[in-house]
Amino acid sequence: MMIRVKLIANYREALPPEAKHGVVELDVPDGTTVYEAISRFDIPLNDESVIVLNGLTVDMNTPLVEGDMVTAFSAIAGG
């Protein structure tokens, strides 16, 4: 199934060159979880990162469905 991963700001360096505006499409096996999808990229997976599914706070073991977007950014005070 096709899903999308979006990495924001400094995390974009971990994306392959075909990514556009920080978004890359991935073909992943059914049952792939949020955690499995995001672990394909070289970013910290501890509390240094915020990872959301379709913009929502979810358990990292949530299985993905076709068309989902997983987004990650560095946890840092800003704004």
């Binding site: 509390d47 915020v50 913009g55």
Partner: protein, 607 residues
């Protein structure tokens, strides 16, 4: 004592008489400094019902015990007064260099009273204090004024001043320092303008003596190293400043778009941190002694938006940009530069124009009144409106009163997205419930800087909170409000102070911040005492607010009754009624939101 000079400069602008006074060391300790000292004096000396633009209002510039010390980011001051925009309290924070130079005059705080019969500026070089004519700079913008006053005083001096917006009493007027830094919110620049005070020019060599200079140096080096390690790893704050945030808030569906009619912006890629970095960034510009250096000098080199300056910050992108539906980055930069030159808060400026755009599109304000079309996304119209506001010309007179008064005047108060008549910053609280509680209860009207729980709800610092839930938010908001009162009183910038104020267990003890204060002052605060003092400051501000008649903790119509139509928070409104009663309990306030006698006694505050 150390850290503080324990000296105040009082300037009567009516008579041009200048006096100095000492600060009681017990008051100094109990109220921390900066924001805390300022509210102590304001509450003691001024009737909260005072007309904000009358000579009776006082305007206070206050540094903290860490300002002008080696503490990294010890470069802040607070401007505290009664706000003409909100009718409540104003406390606006700024960094850059001026605050450090101000403290080096040997005074912690300047209090301005009365009203000068003609335009003046204050020059302070340690004990040489002069109220001088400002006739030659009245009418000039912030950049020109700064250059002229430095040229006629000293290249070693630093300048805080107002631009045309402050002179003309626009209610979103800021006080700018070092040209690009702003004590922006709540119309503090209009108060300065109402006093005919164009600028304050400060210099001197009186660094505050430190209780433990060696210890302070060691802790400062350690903190800088800590920040440096983050920067090395590729900190977003260094690379992008706050301009990386639109992508974050857009992802969560809380990016204010078209006056909060939406929570996501379809053109966000045009105006995000990468677009800015790739097209217009020249270099990073730190405030004094800051290892993070989040400021950015940018330039639009040619064309009709040609200009150069600092910014934009996230809050400018979310107001003058997405708030107005504007996706042209060069035009947005121009709007930002103009606000800095005229001396205007970009949040209130942008969101007031956004409200006018919505009212124009809905037919509530006719084109004949505005003088031209004013659609969302029309960046040239936006730039024109900024000029009209700064100079109070035509429709600019209506705009310069802020969105609340504008919407009310044209019969549609439901359009204004404000609390206590102040415009919302860049987090739609329908998708960030804790921010909703914060905006509703903030002592200065809607503001993220009052206790930015977006750190947890949005940025995951120090821990990630679900932004859509209400459970635990009253405690969270209280804790952030008190922590921000502590940071604002200390003289540090929150972007860095937050690293020592918080720990992963929800930072119950701001150990490092208290330690830093002790090394500076020798006051021997325990972390609990420092936080208690911050709570004292917060409650005293609350009393000022209530006695000024601003007693209603609520949110505007859109936030309570119009569900977000798009994005991850679709269908949500702010569930304020689920949080507010609990918040009052957590605060030790009665069911109407007044601090109880017991709470006031516990904090040692007057009844």
């Amino acid at each position: 004592m150390y850290g503080w000079h324990l000296r105040i400069l009082r300037v009567n602008l009516t008579t041009h008489k200048v006096t100095t006074e000492d600060v009681d060391p017990k008051i100094a300790r109990d109220y921390l400094g900066g924001r805390g000292w300022a509210i102590h004096y304001l509450y003691k000396e001024m009737d909260p019902m005072t007309d904000p633009l009358s000579p009776e209002n006082k305007l206070i510039f206050a540094t903290g015990p860490l300002t002008a010390t080696p503490a990294p980011t010890g470069n802040r001051y607070m401007v505290v007064t009664k706000s003409p925009l909100t009718g409540a309290l104003a406390h606006s924070n700024s960094g850059g260099e001026f605050p450090t130079w101000m403290k080096r005059t040997g005074f912690d705080m300047f209090i301005f009273e009365g009203k000068s019969p003609e335009p003046v500026y204050l020059f302070v070089n340690e004990d040489q204090v002069e109220v001088r004519s400002a006739a030659h700079v009245w009418g000039k913008d912030v950049h020109e004024t700064t250059d002229i006053l430095k040229a006629e005083t000293s290249a070693d001096a630093r300048v805080a001043c107002i631009g045309p917006a402050g002179e003309n009493l626009a209610l979103m007027a800021a006080i700018m320092n070092d040209k690009h830094r702003a004590a922006a919110r709540s119309g503090v620049g209009a108060v300065m303008g109402s006093k005919n005070l164009k600028a304050v020019v400060a210099m001197g060599n009186k660094n505050p003596p430190l209780h433990d200079p060696e210890g302070m140096r060691a802790l400062s080096v350690d903190t800088s190293k800590n920040v440096g390690a983050d920067v090395k790893k590729g900190s977003n704050m260094r690379i992008y400043g706050t301009s990386y945030v639109p992508q974050v808030t857009n992802t969560l569906g809380i990016l204010p778009t078209r006056n909060f009619l939406q929570g996501t912006f379809e053109h966000v890629n045009n105006i995000d941190g990468d677009a800015l970095k790739n097209q217009y960034l020249i270099r990073h510009t730190p405030c004094y002694r800051c290892p993070l250096s989040c400021g950015r000098l940018t330039e639009v080199p040619d064309g009709k938006y040609k200009g150069k300056g600092e910014g934009p910050e996230y809050e400018t992108i979310s107001s003058l940009g997405t708030g107005c539906g504007v996706s042209d980055l060069a035009a947005l930069l121009k709007a930002n530069y103009l606000c800095n030159e005229y001396g205007m808060d970009t949040i209130t400026t942008g969101m007031t124009i956004a409200a006018a755009m919505e009212m124009y599109e809905k037919g509530y304000i006719p084109e004949s009144v505005i003088g031209q079309p004013l659609k969302f996304g029309d960046h040239d119209a936006m730039i024109e409106m900024i000029k009209l506001m700064a100079y109070m010309e035509g429709f600019g007179k209506d705009l310069a009163m802020g969105s609340y008064r504008l919407a009310e005047k044209y019969g549609h108060p439901e359009i204004a997205v404000t609390t206590r008549k102040q415009e919302f910053p860049g987090y739609d609280p329908r998708g960030s419930q804790g921010m909703g509680l914060l905006y509703a209860t903030s002592n200065k009207g809607a503001s993220h800087m009052e206790g930015d729980v977006a750190y947890e709800e949005v940025f995951g610092v120090p821990v990630k909170e679900n932004p859509l839930t209400t459970e635990g938010k009253p405690e969270l908001v209280k804790h952030f409000e008190d922590s921000f009162a502590l940071m604002d009183s200390s003289g540090l910038c929150v972007f860095v102070a937050i690293r020592y104020a918080f720990n992963k267990d929800r930072m119950i003890l701001p150990e490092r911040l208290a330690e830093m204060m002790n090394l500076s002052t020798g006051a021997g605060y325990t972390p609990e005492e420092a936080l208690k003092a911050a709570e004292r400051v917060y409650n005293l501000e609350r009393m000022f607010l209530l006695k000024a008649g601003s007693t209603e903790d609520t949110l505007p119509h859109r936030m309570l009754h119009e569900p977000l139509p798009d994005g991850p928070a679709k269908g949500k409104v702010v569930e304020l009624d689920k949080m507010l009663p609990e918040f009052y309990k957590v605060r030790g306030w009665d069911e109407k939101g007044w601090p109880t006698k017991e709470k006031l006694m516990e904090l040692g505050l007057p009844m």
